[in-house]
Amino acid sequence: MAATLQVRVITPERVVFDGEATHVQYPGEDGLYGVLPRHAPMITTVASGVLVVTEPSGNKHRFFVADGFAQVVGGREVRFAVDSGEDEAEIDLARAQEAAERAKERMGRAQAEGFDLVRAEYAMRRAIMRLRTKQRGIN
């Protein structure tokens, strides 16, 4: 049996996932990262996007993650400390859609009415990524 990774996805509210994997793919700030067992020790930032955990059974588990850090320890453990993390099944499509529209509207009015443009953009990105996680679009 090939080596596996111990993956933990941790948010301030709870531990979202704790299990074995043969491969992990997640969104870094400068592109997608892929981690296999025996990866070198590493710490990176995590942007908002889709985290794909390939379990030993070959089953691909998808999560939405946003803003945080990933740490590879000893080539056998990957820990995510992220602001938000949700299992694909938990994502509320309607809510994400609503959030996307609200963010869009705020971005439009940002200049005129002093809404925080950066915050609106982040909200927008989070909403879009939630939708992507759910709809199994582009990774």
Partner: protein, 301 residues
């Protein structure tokens, strides 16, 4: 002689109060459990962030986050966030936090103090004493604050600090030690003291140390500076979130105890009143009997 009807009314009134306090005790117990679970659930995240900060602190000194570590030479104004409750009937919870605040304030002689307040009760205290409050955070209320709200709060103070409106920042909160022990605590939020790399005791310390040893070939992407500059605010956010959750847990623990005491006191009172009532009733019956006997004797005699 005691008025029997008045006694009856009082017994009923105290009994009603007992029902209310018992219900409040039960509500507090449920909420306490909920907040305690939340506080525990945030533990792994806080540990993780702390571990990251520690394993990075040694390797990266400079970077953008470093001004948050800098101790300023002249401290003109200090900020303090006081976390109180929105509702009363929670024993000495607010009083204790405010005493801690007052004692802290005594150590800040000669400095301008900017007070930031959470909780209606704490706000009321400052208003009564006519002490100026720089900002009162009541939206959202403490009870429904999530991590994002804590993060926003933390970022607000970071901004105040970075832009020079405050030179130091403190937080007064109630640390939750156990169901019966909650300690009002003041801690320095900003600037961050030196975070010792690999510090701490026992397994945690040695784990951090061994991670540190490997730091030579530790990949840091996109760059150590970027990671550090993002990690430090997260660290502060996590601390803020933790302070809010612990205060909330303490509040409900305190409320539960005080409501339990109130219920017990009401029970005692009902017991005492019942005894007085029964004696008074017995006395009246005896007196009436004597009167009847006396009257009968007078007639027959």
């Amino acid at each position: 002689m005691v008025n029997i009807r008045d006694l009856k009314v009082r017994i009923k009134a105290v009994g009603n109060i007992r029902q209310i306090t018992r219900a409040m005790e039960m509500v507090a117990t449920t909420k306490l459990r909920r907040f305690q679970t939340r506080a525990e659930a945030s533990g792994p995240y806080t540990n993780e962030i702390e571990r990251l900060v520690k394993s990075l602190a040694a390797g990266v000194g400079g970077g953008e986050g470093s001004e948050l570590f800098e101790v300023r030479e002249k401290i003109k104004s200090v900020g303090v966030l006081v976390i109180g409750s929105d509702r009363g009937l929670c024993g000495a919870y607010n009083t204790n936090a405010l005493i801690a605040h007052r004692q802290w304030e005594k150590t800040q002689a000669g400095r301008e103090i900017k007070r930031y307040v959470i909780g209606k009760k704490a706000m009321g205290y400052f208003a009564r004493r006519k002490l100026e409050v720089a900002a009162y955070f009541d939206d959202p209320i403490l009870e429904v604050m999530g991590y994002r709200d804590a993060a926003r709060l933390s970022d607000f103070f970071v901004k105040e600090f970075v832009e020079g409106r405050i030179d130091e920042m403190y937080v007064v909160y109630s640390a939750f030690k156990s169901m019966t022990r909650y300690v009002p605590t003041v801690f320095k939020f900003l600037p961050l003291g030196q975070i010792e790399a690999g510090a701490g005791d026992g397994a945690e310390g040695s784990a951090a140390a061994s991670e540190q040893k490997a730091a030579g070939d530790l990949l840091l992407l996109p760059s150590p500076e970027v990671i550090f500059s993002q990690l430090v605010p997260k660290y502060l956010e996590a601390r803020m979130f933790n302070a809010l959750l612990e205060s909330l847990t303490s509040e409900y623990a305190s409320r539960r105890v005080s409501m339990k005491n109130a219920t017990d006191a009401a029970s005692d009172m009902v017991g005492d009143l019942k005894r007085v009532y029964n004696r008074a009733r017995q006395e009246r019956i005896t007196k009436e009997l004597l009167e009847i006997v006396g009257g009968a004797e007078a007639v027959s005699g």
